[in-house]
Symmetry: C2
Subunit: 311 residues, 2 copies
């Protein structure tokens, strides 16, 4: 948790719809800034919601926050969850019919000032708001998993979302120390996803062509662009690498190689013959990944970058 505690103001009341991986991780994040854990409600229809939250949520939290888990309100009713809230964030199934119905219900059941956010990774707000009377209230707030650690939120309004709602949304996330980025327009997969999938496609190609193994490819990224991109994205990194002439000079020097790589870049597709090899090598290399170690590493890396920028 990068943020100081209890900073979002006493009037913030959050309803989270859906207690999957993203929903619970958002709950962990909100526990760090809410004035009172009872201002957080988790709605899910699973029968074991209470024991599930009590068991899993503490594993996302530092010990000093464990005591607040019992104060979170749990319910299987959308009406109960949203009735007094100022924010509704939906992290339910990626199913258009489910979301369309949900937002029509929420619009009726929640206070008219409540902000309405969907964590969808692919269904635009314009489609989800189809059955709403007031389509200006809904927008995409797409977290990067796990959002209680990684700071990014991709903010993607529809053409109908009001500017005031967008501004309030940006302000909320900034206030609690996260990194909302407002996309200028909607695009399939949003930006983080598209970048990750573009790199993954080339990675799959290189393993499929037996240039490297899955494990070697990961190691290559972990010891080169990973550390670099944690501090500076591709444009800033390559601009720094180009000396006084910056990015233009760098691409002037290596442009022919870059174009050659693009020209014969991997064009693998989902369901291709690479799947058996890549899945087997990945399982063989990693089995079950230690999520505790991953989360610790991600936190320490984020702190390291902050430290370097302060010095």
């Amino acid at each position: 948790m990068a943020t100081p505690e209890r900073i979002s103001g006493p009037d913030v009341r959050i309803a989270l719809i859906g207690a999957g991986t993203i929903g619970l991780s958002l709950a962990a994040l909100h526990l760090t800034h809410l004035a009172d854990a009872s201002h957080l409600t988790i709605m899910d229809v699973r029968a074991d919601l209470s024991s599930y939250v009590a068991t899993v949520l503490p594993t996302y939290l530092p010990p000093e926050l464990h005591k607040h888990v019992a104060d979170i309100k749990l319910t299987s009713s959308v009406a109960e969850a949203v009735k007094d809230c100022t924010i509704v964030q939906e992290s339910g199934p990626e199913d258009l019919a489910f979301k369309t119905q949900l937002w029509a219900d929420v619009e009726r059941l929640a206070p008219s000032h409540a902000m309405l956010w969907t964590s969808t990774s692919g269904i635009p707000a314009a489609q989800q708001s189809a059955s709403m009377t007031d389509k200006t209230r809904l927008l995409v707030v797409h977290p990067f998993n796990p959002p209680h650690i990684l700071p990014l939120l991709e903010i993607v309004p529809s053409a109908l979302t009001s500017e005031a709602v967008v501004a309030k949304t940006m302000e909320f996330w900034r206030r609690i120390g996260r990194e909302p980025v407002l996309l200028k327009r909607d695009i399939t997969g949003f930006v983080a996803g598209r970048l990750a999938w573009a790199l993954l496609r080339e990675a799959i190609h290189l393993v499929d062509q037996d240039v490297v193994t899955v494990e070697q490819l990961d190691r290559i990224l972990e010891t080169s662009m990973g550390p670099r991109w944690a501090y500076a994205g591709p444009f800033k990194s390559f601009h720094a690498g180009g000396g006084p002439g910056g990015l233009a000079a760098l691409l002037g020097n290596v442009g022919r190689t870059v174009q050659a790589c693009w020209d014969d870049g991997g064009r693998v597709n989902m369901g291709g013959s690479w799947e058996a090899k890549v899945f087997a090598q990945t399982e063989e290399a990693y089995g079950r990944v230690d999520l505790g170690e991953r989360d610790r590493a991600n936190r320490l890396v984020l702190e390291a970058v902050r430290e370097a920028k302060k010095a």
Copy 2:
């Protein structure tokens, strides 16, 4: 410098050909492990070599190593540089004629046991060794800039490079605490470059299409995949994200979106109309990047990952 000092053994003597950014960064790296700084020779034909090395190299080094800079041997003669060395690493111009002549000379002038490495980012060892009598000695050792900080070395032998030379090369870099990765075959741009250029192509596309600005795109990567990939490359990261079913389960869930992103992914080319916009936004956003801050951040991030894995 991740490595303990003075660990490579008293018999290691290194000749670096070319004192550009990569050559000087390699010099900084080697100063951390050589028993004696006079076992390092830098060869370059620039007239101001002595004042240039004395001015620039210390900026790559922790203060306690500054005193060793004066002990490095400097020369403008290849013969002088390589005569007693056990390793020759060439980081000269990316020019085939230059490299072909250089290696024919070096073969004649260096001890027969010396390892011969080229830092090239694109000219295969098989082409560079064309004028050598014994083509088994040369291979690519491709560092990631700046190599005194980022641990990766891509090791790319030609079909004629001897296995014994490859093994000795791997062993050297491992002994001084770096991360050599042996590619199973040569490919344009090697692996790190191809992955970076694949992501950059999509990044350029997203800026060109006005989905985000250069600065927003960088910020998105810095707060999502950057920190994640510093710890675990794409296969391990997505395998972790897929729960018990791993990578196969994850792609089973999101495969349709992934394919949709691939299908309309950016196909920009070098020299395209995007250049003016992207170069201008990059210069406007960053001007001159603070390389000291970048290097400090990269070091701290690498330390953070080591720390997380130890805990």
